[in-house]
């Protein structure tokens, strides 16, 4: 009988090769794809060219035959959310792509600034007072509008000078599973339903998942979600089936403006760095990459973004950390017990099989 390996870092109680935290150059090899395997792939979502058409949402649902959305949390019936043009609300078991819409406005002090390249005419921060209308106070009306007032303080329009007196930004961003280098969902999955593919992506196997739901709180982004009438969890697979046939994921295939770009991760990273430099050069100082840094809390994401404002503005956590970062220490204590349980399980199953 083959001898049992003792190389598991979890069992050893330390993580010298960054298997649970920190940069990891080859996630696929770490997951056992030791022989030749494809380069790690990912999404680079450049929100500065997103037109909010939601083709990604539909193409995803179409390919993956997802049910209609019920993940709003507040209600199951269809209805307007009131969050600008976003009626999907959040990523969920039935929505593996979600386009956020953020409306921001700022009154510009007249006289007009001179025009130049986009962004050159940035004004001092802070909203200017506006003339209240009759009756109900304007403040009340603004409270109930979709305006994101917080964002006004740090306003750096890439575009959207509207008239001479107002700057409006309508940020749109297509969110998706990040396919983390260190994926909490995958680390906590007790059944092996979640796995790392040869492409470096993280996928749920519907034929294995038993709906235990451990992965749901383990995701630092709140991506993975249980389907109510089914019990199992679902999330973006980066169209694993399409990848095996050499196709691109459905969302990236459809995206009209190439806001969603699919490709080898290192190539996408280089492209994103160049795009960021271009925008910075145009004076768009609030442009930033999100999920690009391999030293971040998830070891860098397979799906990363170019944002035009703070991540929170888009509903993204500012500093996500893989929930299993401290597992090695915990494992050390639990290792013996776990080994015992596995041993019992193996002999029990083998025993029952022999009968």
């Amino acid at each position: 009988m083959t001898s049992i390996s003792s190389a598991s870092p979890g069992l050893a109680g330390n993580d010298p090769s960054n298997r649970l935290f920190g940069p990891l150059p080859d996630v696929s090899a770490d997951a056992g794809y030791v022989e030749e395997h494809p380069a790690r792939v990912g999404f680079f979502t450049d929100t500065s060219v997103c037109i909010g058409c939601k083709a990604c949402e539909v193409a995803c649902k179409e390919w993956n035959t997802l049910p209609m959305d019920d993940s709003h949390g507040v209600r199951d019936a269809m209805g307007m959310s009131g969050m600008s043009y976003d009626n999907t609300g959040m990523l969920g078991a039935n929505s593996w792509r979600h386009v956020a819409f953020v409306e921001q406005t700022r009154t510009v002090d007249l006289p007009m600034p001179t025009f130049g390249r986009p962004g050159d005419d940035r004004q001092g921060s802070g909203p200017s007072p506006m003339t209240p209308g009759d009756g109900v106070s304007l403040a009340d009306a603004q409270q109930s509008s979709v305006l994101n007032a917080e964002a006004l303080s740090e306003f750096d329009p890439q575009t959207g000078q509207s008239g001479a007196d107002k700057q409006i930004r309508w940020l749109m961003s297509s969110d998706v599973c990040k396919h983390c280098t260190h994926a909490g969902c995958l680390d906590v999955c007790p059944t092996g339903a979640l796995f790392r593919t040869e492409f470096g992506t993280v996928v749920v196997q519907g034929d294995i998942c038993n709906g235990c739901g451990y992965c749901v709180p383990a995701c630092p982004y709140g991506v993975i979600d249980q389907r109510k009438d089914d019990g199992r969890v679902f999330k973006c697979t980066m169209c694993y089936d399409r990848l095996t046939d050499g196709l691109q994921p459905a969302c990236a295939t459809a995206c009209p403006t190439q806001s969603i770009q699919f490709g080898d991760l290192d190539e996408l990273q280089a492209r994103a760095d160049a795009r960021l430099a271009t925008l910075k050069g145009q004076g768009v100082e609030t442009a930033r990459l999100y999920g690009r840094d391999e030293n971040d809390g998830v070891g860098g994401a397979g799906a990363f973004f170019l944002l035009l404002d703070e991540p929170e503005v888009y509903g993204l956590p500012p500093d996500p950390v893989v929930t299993t970062r401290d597992v090695p220490a915990m494992w050390k204590a639990a290792a013996q017990g776990a080994a015992l349980i596995i041993g019992v399980a193996v002999s029990a199953v083998l025993g029952s099989r022999k009968r």
Binding site: P9, A59, A254
Partner: protein, 189 residues
């Protein structure tokens, strides 16, 4: 024993403990379904070239057919116009075919009726022909205000602009031959 070994190797924990994936997060966890995965575009019987029916950009589509059913519609990357891309409507266009509320049989509402009734297609065609001839006769004008017009005012038509050129052509030809002139299209709107 070989059988047991094969069976054992299909068990993730066994693979995890013996293979290159000690944490059981990759190769060791792959299920039977995962090993068998294949995209439905790859298994389609044929790919048919089409064009999106929504707006007028004219995005080319690849239509994948399996067992005489549409299994997928996506952008045709060869098109110089859309370069394989589609908007949400184009991406949803398979549901035009498969929509659960699509009505695919003839429905008939008799005058002053309160419910739909079923009707054979052939019967409906004959009934419509009867009514066309009668309406044409009723609205016929040889002259109007002293000028020869050779037409009927009894039949009108309004087409959508998702009609094919060939369909519009046959419609205009037939209506003109019938003498019907109130022939209009969404293009007016």
């Amino acid at each position: 024993m070989t059988r047991v070994k094969t069976w054992l190797e299909s068990w993730p924990v066994y693979r995890q403990l013996t293979g290159s994936d000690p944490l059981g997060r990759g190769t060791a966890a792959r299920s039977k379904a995962t090993e068998a995965v294949v995209s439905r575009t790859a298994t389609a019987d044929r790919v048919v070239k089409s064009v999106c029916p929504y707006c007028a950009v004219g995005c080319a589509q690849n239509v994948y057919v399996k067992d005489e059913q549409i299994v997928q519609i996506e952008g045709d990357p060869d098109s110089p116009i859309n370069r394989g891309r589609l908007c949400p409507k184009g991406s949803a266009s398979k549901q035009l075919v498969t929509s659960p509320s699509r009505t695919t049989t003839v429905k008939y509402r008799r005058p002053f009726g309160t419910e739909w009734e079923d009707l054979e297609l052939d019967t409906a065609m004959e009934m419509i022909a009867d009514r066309v001839l009668e309406a044409r006769r009723k609205g016929w004008q040889d002259e109007d205000a002293g000028y020869r017009v050779n037409r009927t005012m009894g039949i009108a038509s309004l087409g959508g602009a998702t009609l094919d050129n060939e369909e519009n052509y046959l419609m205009k030809k037939l209506y003109s031959a019938l003498g019907a002139i109130q022939i209009e299209n969404q293009a007016r709107i």
